[in-house]
Amino acid sequence: MLATSRGSREVREVLMHRFGLDQPLYVQYFLWLYNTFTGNLGISVNGLPVVDVIAPRIWYTIELMLVSQILSATLAVALGALAGYKHDSTLDRALSFLALIGYSIPNFWLGLVLILVFAVALGWFPVGGFSMGIELAKISGLSSVLLHLEYLALPTAVLVIEFTPYYFRLLRSSMIEVARSDYIVTARSKGLTERTIIYKHALRNALIPLVTAVGTSLGLIFGGSYVVEVVFAWPGLGSLLVIAALSRDYWVVMGVSLITATMVIASSITIDIAYAYLNPKIRFGGAGL
């Protein structure tokens, strides 16, 4: 690509050597693996080290993911606890129906529709492209936060609509099981208010399967945010991956994959710790798992 058909053989050879493409494939791989341990992820086709291309983007991905996952989980816990506790009521049916719809809308298409309505037609939010042409260093304090929120609004909305139904369904079904158990019956016969029963007794136990589910669906969470990043040109790892993939920038693709896998594993460990906090059986039992 750098040396198109017009490039001379010398240019081609220099470039091949620079990117290590004159080596056999296995040598390229082990060289990459060796360099990785020294913090060198190779050079991007635009000449920058891959580490420098990736590093500034990691925070944006984490920001989008944290905001949207916290919002979805909170919303899903509140609604799911209610729907599961009042199993088969009108409220439960309505929420479950909405969840099924939210669950089935492809996130990238929802992104397009939200852009069409709220950015193109109404002009309330920017179309996307955060930090492109904005000198973030010059603005600070409150206006910087507001700018972040303005650009975060639509991608976050898409992710919340995608993940709330997912968590909602899980929480609802575990709540239905918990609501039948003996200690809930005891709590009710003690005369506790419904609200105390739902949020103090039932929820804590119903949350455990939810935490497990988040742990096993980290791939879904990362994948979902990556695709949404592309739609809104959010300057995170997902849009970088696609840009790199389209321009066949292999080292960047490899680098983003490596960082993603590392982040998935790190989150998975964090969730295991949260799990132990929620479920004392694991903390003290020693056996199990």
Binding site: I105, G223, V227, V242, S268
Partner: protein, 278 residues
């Protein structure tokens, strides 16, 4: 067969949502099976002078930026999507079935080895793996995208099959069959497999929805084959004309939503009916 139809009929009458899902599935599968008879035009036929026309009687869903009928592309596109999804499901089953059954039935070292491979693949988001594979392997043809999707997505199904076979292996009838001296293969095929078929059917239904979504995502990002009509390709084209020609991306999106919804409703109903625990 009649008894089965009667059961389906009762279930469909009980739930409006399931009735809708079944109707939509029948319509779209017919669409996918006979696109040449149903689509008004050929999907790649360009109507000169009609580029980007809004929905009209001649073009119910409008035309795209170079004057191809959107409705015809949707109909032909579903043929592609369904073919890819079914193919990928077949590849997935061919890997997940032996891996899951062997792991669950034999346990021990075989299980350890197979499950560590599965975990390694599960540590990467499927869509990221798909993007990387499509880029590195320069996937262009339908067969290769089917292979890539099947090869990447089998892990979850394999883990579920493993867990189920572990459970069934300990059931009295399976233990009895073993103690009577039947071979491992016989026990797996005659006792384990029939008892986990319902789980496999339910997961396959949900996976069909996922495969349709994955294919659309890959094409939407711009990594699909630009010559084959697909729902993702329409969304990819439409993204560039969102402000001026929204019909290019809005209509195929509605079709994707309704189809994925139908597969999910069907999966939910099957899972309730077959009492599969997910």
């Amino acid at each position: 067969m009649n008894a089965l139809l009667a059961i389906v009929w009762t279930e469909v009458r009980r739930s409006k949502l399931l009735a809708f899902a079944c109707t939509w599935m029948i319509i779209t599968v017919l669409m996918a099976a006979f696109p040449f008879a149903i689509a008004p035009y050929s999907p790649n036929k360009i109507f000169p002078g009609n580029a980007g026309t809004p929905p009209s009687l001649q073009f119910p869903f409008g035309t795209d930026h170079i004057g191809r009928d959107v409705l015809s592309q949707i109909i032909w596109g579903f043929s592609t999507s369904l073919l890819i999804a079914l193919g990928a499901l077949l590849v997935e089953l061919l890997i997940a079935l032996p891996v899951g059954l062997l792991s669950g039935y034999f346990g021990g070292r075989v299980d350890q080895l197979l499950m560590r491979i599965t975990d390694a693949i599960l540590a990467m988001p499927t869509i990221v793996l798909l993007i990387v594979a499509v880029t590195l392997l320069r996937v262009e043809s339908l067969v290769s995208i089917i292979l890539v999707m099947g090869l990447i997505n089998w892990t979850w199904l394999a883990k579920t099959i493993r867990a189920e076979s572990l459970r069934v292996r300990e059931e009295d009838y399976a233990v009895a069959a073993k103690s009577m001296g039947f071979g491992d293969l016989y026990v797996i095929v005659r006792h384990i497999l029939p008892n986990i078929v319902s789980t496999i059917i339910v997961i396959s239904t949900f996976d069909m929805a996922w495969f349709i979504l994955y294919e659309a995502t890959i094409s939407f990002i711009g990594l699909g084959n630009p010559t084959i009509p697909s729902w993702g390709r329409l969304l990819y084209i439409g993204r560039g004309f969102l402000g001026t020609q929204p019909w290019i991306s809005v209509f195929p999106g509605v079709f994707i939503c309704l189809t994925v919804l139908s597969f999910n409703v069907l999966g939910d109903s099957l899972s309730d009916f077959l009492t599969v625990k997910r």
